[in-house]
Symmetry: none
Subunit: 412 residues, 2 copies
């Protein structure tokens, strides 16, 4: 017995006037989702709690059964893990942007003109830098996409209780990193980060790539803005908790990072991009193949959330139909007698809001032993009448693992 | 976008034999509640948790999003705030009754014959009293209604861990105030209260008003019974938590007090009495006007609970219809494109029980973006089939604030 969980990021929505008062899930043609709803049991799920808009990181932690209010230690570490960095206990991770500052340290562009090329070359110039005053601190810097990168500090006595240098807006000064608590560790960490930031600026300012960018009239990527100080959370791996092998089929660094943090194996799927262009059938194939070796396969599809942030209802509908095609492939190529298949979202991203909202998400689970209810279609409205009632994100993984007999008895 | 929350105190009930097995909400003609249920999303709500009868204070704390198990510090402070007293951090508040005791300190009447006149005069005689042994302790005493009043002690080292002097029944001795824990503060506070109670008794015994009452054959109001030691709870104001302006339209002191404690502005509505005679249309007008300045307007109507405590089903039905008229006025005089309107109760008060019970209450929410379900009528039974499922009181305010985009994302 195996489980496939397919998650359509931001797929849930609210009724939309332009769609005749329907949600994109109601409008989209979703024969496979509907089949799962019809033959399975449905419900709605508050990933965090009713009304609370989940972040992507906390949502996924909760969905995998880890209470973010207990284990969450910031987002940066998941980004670092997700782009393949090796993060150890105590390592301090940041998300970073290459930015453009002027000589007064005013932020002219938080994304250095959304620099598209050379990010890796610049990152290499920063990776491994040493500070004279703190020779024991190791610095790792890795480029991810466009202007984005990750910084890791390794060494004793580092604290995540420090502020961001990223002001989040432009035409203001770079923020000095400050300790967020009165501790020697936080004060020392802030000092290290301010010195390091200055050193990075020196290196970037004179880097040949920036000399070239200036000559071409482009904004130089002459500064590294840091945000989201984060350390590895203490998590009992999902593989140990349930005695399973677990695979993650996801393209986005953050999702890959959360999956890795909870102990899943990652797979690279050619054509899986984490955008609306992603090759869902390639992901479906990877999932089906994964079931030969793994008990639990998690498939993350990002596109519907991107479309929602763009306020593009039609694209969201198309993306939902792509996710449905993914589910169709899985349904067609697996044995229904040995598979529990679930479909849900991590949060509602209403087209009208373009941001995560706190409305519950629909959930449908089909498989042997599931108590099928009378719900006929997969949507936010239909699933609310289902036999699962209204559950919390934290309860999803135990619910799924229970169907395959992997949850330990509590008490005797 | 704005929110109006209308709360019919104790409005929920159980099926009543004399009503043909229906609840008062099912029998009452409630076109506006039904409209909200029909066009909106419904559910049932456990104000505290399933089966637990909520107190009025804890119910309202929960409904505003404050976990009473974490923040509740007794009821007296809300009564004090609700009658307009200025309560500061560390102040110790009590609810009090003027009572009649005999020379052996036996309680003859806990309400001094439900004294109707002169309460304010008596209170003034007690307000500002000084104890010789504790000259640094400030004493404020304020009359509220009939025999009821509030005592506040201000000074260093006061503890709320002291017992009541009010025995809650008659023909027994006044209780000595005892420390409820072994601490210097609790012991000192008990000593202060016992001395103060004696001093109050001396003053009241010889007060001209009581001399007159005795001459008229009335019971003298010669004692102050204290109960519910309470201090100001530490609460993040609702206004800061959600970045909103919030208005409370309520007449009862307790409800006003809870609203003030969570940071709402209060308004006095002529004709709003906190009884079955209250002018609901005056309250509705105040709510609608409030929406010009406030993001969140809370309207509390007490009468249905009074009728329930009296076991008067017909009066409860009439009161529910009055609350429906209030909702009708709000619906008629607001723009449905910019208003989220919710109707619920704080607890079930079954006519057959005449006390708060732990059954869930019905909830209906109508407004832009709400996922309308198939519920057609507002009642305890109908709403249980709604798209909100079953939520906790704690989740109500986040749920409402989410519809107007006021809940901060949790995580990134």
């Amino acid at each position: 017995m195996m489980v496939v969980l397919v998650l359509g990021d931001g797929m849930a929505d609210r009724p939309i006037k332009e769609l005749g008062g329907l949600t994109p899930l109601q409008v989209a043609k979703t024969p496979s989702m509907d089949k799962i709803a019809k033959l399975g049991v449905c419900g709605i799920m508050d990933t965090i709690s009713p009304g609370v808009p989940p972040g992507s990181d906390t949502a996924h932690l909760a969905i995998f059964g880890y209470d973010p209010s207990k284990v969450y230690e910031g987002r940066g570490v998941f980004e670092a893990l997700g782009i393949g960095l090796d993060v150890k206990k105590g390592d301090l991770c940041f998300r970073s942007n290459f930015a453009t500052v002027d000589e007064r340290m005013m932020v002219l562009d938080r994304r250095a003109g959304r620099i598209e090329e050379g990010g890796e070359e610049l990152a290499n110039a920063l990776d491994g830098v040493k500070l004279e005053s703190f020779p024991e601190i190791e610095v790792a810097f890795k480029h991810s996409t466009e202007h984005r990168g990750v910084l890791i500090l390794r060494g004793r006595g580092l604290s995540r209780m420090v502020s961001d240098s990223d002001p989040q807006v432009e035409n203001v000064s770079v923020h000095k990193v400050l300790p967020l608590e009165r501790s020697r560790e936080a004060e020392r960490t802030a000092r290290i980060l301010n010195m390091l930031t200055e050193k990075f600026h020196e290196i970037l300012q004179s880097h040949p790539l920036n000399v070239k960018r200036r000559a071409e009239g482009l904004l130089p990527a002459n500064f590294v803005l840091l945000r989201g100080a984060s350390v590895l959370p203490k998590l009992e791996p999902i593989t140990e908790r349930y005695g399973i092998k677990a695979l993650c089929v996801a393209a986005g660094a953050l999702y890959r990072g959360v999956c890795k943090a909870v102990g899943m194996d990652l797979i690279d799927v050619p054509g899986a991009t984490g955008t609306v262009e992603t090759d869902v059938i390639a992901k479906a194939k990877a999932a089906v193949e994964g079931l030969l070796k793994y008990d639990f396969v998690f498939v993350h599809v990002k596109g519907a959330d991107n479309a929602s942030h763009d306020g593009n209802a039609q694209q969201k509908i198309r993306m939902i139909e792509k996710i449905d095609a993914l589910l169709g492939y899985v349904l067609k190529n697996t044995d229904k007698d040995e598979l529990v298949i679930a479909v849900t979202a991590d949060h509602t991203t209403p087209i009208a809001v373009r941001e995560h909202a706190g409305d519950p998400v629909p959930l449908a689970i089909m498989g042997p032993g599931v108590r099928a209810d009378s719900v006929q279609r997969y949507s936010e409205i239909d699933c609310a009448e289902g036999g699962l009632g209204r559950i919390r994100g934290l309860d999803l993984t135990p619910t799924l693992m229970n169907y395959i007999g992997r949850v330990k008895k509590y008490g005797e």
